[in-house]
Symmetry: C2
Subunit: 162 residues, 2 copies
């Protein structure tokens, strides 16, 4: 893939993420309070974190294809929900289960959050596919790609003390 194609792909992913988010916002967030949106996103990321931890445990220990498939499917399905719709204006601060750990930079125009989120969705869907192969090396490699997308977003947009 050349540089131009890569750039086009990144832009497409970001736009796909935003489109999903906007669609979801229109139907979901009108009646939901900011505190509820924050609670939903904290819950979604908690389930994602639980399942990333579980996959790591299985990959570091006794490999079990079915366990990885189930966790990868859950992560992918949640990533496809348009989580961006839970980060709307009005949710920059506030308490869901706890005070939000999102940094103000996440909500600023021109932030890379759309690009990061697009990458997260892409790698999560890819892991769900690859996990079905049962090829441990391929699963490990794809899992690393997924967790790298988590890290890039956490580094830039999540408070250090979280």
């Amino acid at each position: 893939m050349n540089k131009r194609q890569k750039s086009y792909l990144a832009a497409s992913l970001a736009m796909a993420f935003l489109a999903v988010s906007v669609g979801a916002v229109a139907q979901q967030s009108a009646p939901a309070k900011p505190e509820t949106l924050i609670k939903w996103r904290q819950s979604a990321f908690q389930v994602i974190g639980w399942n990333c931890g579980h996959i790591k445990q299985v990959l570091d220990g006794v490999y079990n294809k079915e366990e990885v498939v189930k966790s990868a499917n859950a992560i992918a399905a949640i990533s496809n929900l348009g989580l961006g719709s839970l980060f709307t204006t009005g949710t920059e601060q506030g308490k869901g289960w706890h005070e939000t750990n999102a940094k103000p930079e996440l909500f600023k125009e021109g932030s890379k959050v759309g690009e990061y989120a697009g990458n997260f969705v892409k790698e999560a869907n890819e892991l769900a596919k690859v996990s079905n192969s049962g090829d441990v090396a391929a699963v490990k490699s794809q899992f690393s790609k997924l967790t790298a997308t988590c890290k890039s977003c956490h580094d830039d947009f999540r408070r250090k003390d979280s």
Copy 2:
């Protein structure tokens, strides 16, 4: 399906749920504290609730197949994680995001929780299938079957004040 077949199906579902749970327990719960398990289950049910609410909103309003498919996929994928493994001995009481709302009866031997959970998994997977058809009447019917399984478990095993 006759009565005997129904009884066999119910028993099979309950056993499938328990098998998944035990498998998950062996790999997941050893290092996880009760508070963590409670946090994970509260998060999982919060995401399920969010998406059930979203499906209801779409079915009551402007139907959008893709939105229902995404939410149904997330509910099904989470239901397949072996949530029973998050209700192990030691988690009868305790605080995840908040004090557990599970009633003591849930943890008693011979409780119907395995049967209820098996039904929930079955109806959630069926909704994910049916949602792809785009047949609104069929989706509404299947969604009612799913929420009935939520209600039966909440009625028996979740505190009223939750």
